[in-house]
């Protein structure tokens, strides 16, 4: 007999998946073929590998260790602003890295608020460049993610279990041993793996706060091989090393990870009976809020003054960024929607696999590969913007699919039979049922894609010539030229654009959406 009828066609999705696989695997193959193994790894390369692993390990450890008390406090306290704080914990995901770094510099930097404060007592200013700066920035980005993941695990503990323990007369410590300790043991390895994987591929943080022989990550070394030495063979060799590292880690992280960290339902507070003084929880909540809000507040304050002091080139860069983000979001949806549809219509494991390939390859590795592939045909710098949009879309694809696939699956299962019995065509089902029903998820995915692309400082640094820049790159250049006022203004503009794009698309998706 013919195979079971489906209301949607998997073929466009299979096509999109093949394109994505070709892009990622093709660039990886280019990297592998171009890598010059003859030279082997220099001592500097080994130092880069060591530093990459060290900073990722420390970043993951600090993020997770600090996340546990914060999540515990959030899980068991109710207070005004709790929802807002939890929502704020989702913000760093779409916060442009360069904006956060500027804020961190203004707070923790040599002439930042804390150094100024220390100076009052005649103490030397703190130094932010190097290993501790990189780790600090990574903790800033990943503490919120870790908190959300741990909080999620906390909320998943059935309330009955706390009730039973309370009924048995367990005090705080006994409660911890009985319920929370086993839960943390199950959860934390996965959170550590996810954050470790994220920190391995972080480029912009190392670019701005690292550098020098003692604080260069592999990603940064790829960039330097490109821009300083223009040694494609070495860039490719480093890319191959980075690829092996990220692919292995991504596999481990995927195995551990269950939730996605931006799910909902985190606003429920658990009813607890083990009491305990709220002092500790209050301390952790305030400390986390201050740590996250201070750099952002600083960017806003300094940016307002800078907004009126920006060279026209910043506005040009902002326009370029908006166009790149729009193009990248369009490409993202053109790939993700058919792919999600295909995955929803049956067992298309390969489509799903190609959707998460992006997690295994870092933007700079793909950028290197594309550079190698494009160079014989055209001048890569003239294609800097399209390439940036494309790579941004490929990098956002795993997240978009995580948002879209469950909804597509749900809607196909729910309405598929009715559509079939009405003799609806696959195209009609896609346009009249699937797309309208998925609007909230499409808006959310598009918002994430636009914000990620808007704030991205990765491939563009590899491809761009001095005449062209996206806003994040322009801010980086202004910082390098010590035009801090203009950089702060640009950062505020970028913050507004990223968050605005996310808000607009996410809201647009939910506007008048029927339940």
């Amino acid at each position: 007999m013919a195979e079971r009828a489906q209301p949607v066609s998997p073929w466009p999705g299979i096509g999109a998946a093949a394109l994505v696989a070709a892009l990622i695997l093709g660039t990886l193959a280019a990297v592998a073929l171009r890598a010059e193994a003859s030279g082997g790894f220099s001592p500097a390369d080994w130092a880069a590998l060591r530093f990459t692993l060290t900073q990722a390990t420390l970043s993951a450890l600090f993020s997770v260790l600090l996340a546990v008390p914060v999540a515990r406090a959030l899980a068991r306290r109710r207070f005004p602003g709790r929802r807002a704080l939890i929502a704020l914990l989702g913000a760093p995901f779409i916060l442009p890295v360069i904006v956060a770094i500027l804020g961190l510099l203004q707070v923790f930097g040599r002439s930042g608020w804390i150094s100024d404060f220390l100076g009052i007592f005649g103490l030397p200013p703190i130094r932010i460049y190097g290993l501790h700066g990189v780790v600090l920035a990574h903790v800033f980005f990943n503490l919120p993610l870790a908190t959300r993941l741990v909080l999620q695990a906390w909320q998943e503990v059935p309330a009955e279990r706390f009730r039973l323990a309370a009924q048995l007369g367990c005090n705080g410590m006994a409660m911890f041993r009985l319920i929370e300790m086993p839960m943390l043991k199950r959860t934390l390895p996965g959170v550590l793996a996810v954050i470790f994987a994220i920190c391995l591929t972080s480029f912009a943080v190392a670019l701005t706060l690292g550098g020098g022989p003692r604080a260069t990550t592999i990603e940064l070394a790829i960039y330097q091989a490109f821009t300083y030495d223009f040694d494609l063979g070495r860039a490719a060799l480093l890319s191959a090393l980075q690829l092996a590292l990220t692919a292995a880690t991504a596999l481990v992280a995927l195995k551990f990870s269950r939730g996605d960290g931006f799910g909902t339902g985190l606003d429920r507070a658990l009813r607890r009976w083990d009491g305990g003084a709220p002092t500790i929880d209050v301390f952790w909540i305030i400390a986390a809020a201050v740590f996250l809000l201070l750099p952002l507040a600083s960017v806003v304050i300094s940016g307002v003054a800078g907004l009126f002091d920006m060279p026209a080139i910043v506005f040009r860069a902002a326009l370029i960024s908006a166009l790149v983000a729009a193009a990248s979001t369009a490409v993202l949806l053109l790939l993700a929607l058919p792919m999600a549809t295909a995955v929803a219509s049956g067992r298309y494991g390969l489509v799903e696999l190609s959707g998460i390939l992006g997690l295994a390859a870092s933007p700079l590795v793909i950028g290197t590969g594309l550079f190698i592939l494009i160079r014989p045909l055209a001048n890569p710098t003239t294609l800097a913007l399209p390439v940036t949009a494309l790579v941004n879309a490929a990098m956002a694809l795993p997240f978009a699919l995580r948002i879209l696939v469950p909804a597509a699956r749900d809607i196909t299962a729910r309405h598929g039979r009715l559509a079939l019995s009405l003799d609806m065509t696959k195209w009609t089902f896609f346009t009249r049922v699937l797309l309208p029903r998925m609007r909230p998820q499409i808006g959310f995915a598009a918002g994430l894609g636009a914000a990620l692309s808007m704030g991205d400082l990765g491939v563009i640094a590899l491809f761009a010539d001095p005449q062209i820049a996206t806003l994040p790159l322009q801010i980086y250049r202004l910082m390098g030229a010590y035009q801090m006022q203009a950089a702060a203004g640009g950062a505020l503009l970028l913050l507004l654009l990223s968050m605005g794009a996310f808000w607009l698309l996410d809201r647009g998706g939910r506007w008048h959406a029927e339940s």
Partner: protein, 230 residues
């Protein structure tokens, strides 16, 4: 005549044998213990499940290879019979034209179907703005404009209260009588069967039994039905 010719239906490691004939224009209740395969049978007839063996004929034509939408039947499911983002009118219109715009004449048919199920003037409402009973009426109005020769009901009114359910069944009985539609209706309630079905098919012991007179069957039930009725 609907003819299930020596059919074997497989669902996981569960099999169901069916070899029955159903007269055109009859109203059949399908009754039996839960898990016996009542819904599975209906889904197979509608084309959502493949036959392991055997064939299904309608009026002498083999239909068991047809796509669900090409079979001469309309089906109402336990839930999800309306698209929540479309208005009542749009939902009904899908019965006439699943893939396009309505002509003026077809639009009139939609309006008359709305009227037939007593939903005058409610065409612009979305399902969330209608009560459970009204939603069922919209689904029935769509069945009406579909003009299929068979109507399959997989307990679409199960969530309604007893009085409302009785109303719906009476409406179904009127509609199938007006249009000479053959009705197959899954139910777990003997009252439903007595209410609108002249014949009843018992699904039990991995077998779809031949239709029997509803009143006779319940007045003198075979052992497997007696065990179910208690």
């Amino acid at each position: 005549m609907l003819n299930l010719d020596d059919c074997v239906i497989e669902n996981g490691n569960f099999t169901l044998n069916a070899d029955i004939q159903i007269e055109v224009g009859s109203s059949i209740a399908i009754i039996g213990p839960s898990g016996a395969g009542k819904s599975t049978l209906l889904e197979t007839i509608a084309g959502f499940r493949d036959l392991k063996k055997g064939q299904i004929f309608w009026g002498g034509q083999q239909i068991s290879n047809l796509h669900p939408g090409k079979r001469p039947m309309a089906m109402l499911f336990q839930d999800g019979n309306l698209f929540p983002h479309l208005t009542a009118e749009q939902n009904i219109a899908l019965g006439l034209r699943p893939n396009g715009r309505l002509s003026r004449d077809e639009d009139a048919q939609v309006q008359s179907a709305l009227g037939r199920v007593s939903l005058h003037g409610m065409g612009a409402r979305k399902p969330s703005e209608l009560s459970g009973g009204q939603q069922s009426r919209v689904a029935l109005a769509r069945v009406l404009v579909q003009r299929r020769e068979l109507l399959l009901l997989d307990e679409p009114f199960a969530a309604l209260g007893p009085a409302l359910k009785a109303d719906m069944l009476d409406l179904v009985a009127d509609l199938v009588a007006e249009t000479q539609t053959t009705l197959l209706m899954v139910s777990h309630d003997p009252q439903d069967a007595r209410r609108i079905a002249d014949q009843t098919v018992l699904v039990a012991d991995k077998t779809v039994h031949a239709p029997a007179q509803t009143a006779k069957l319940f007045d003198n039930p075979p052992p497997s039905l007696r065990a179910y009725l208690g």
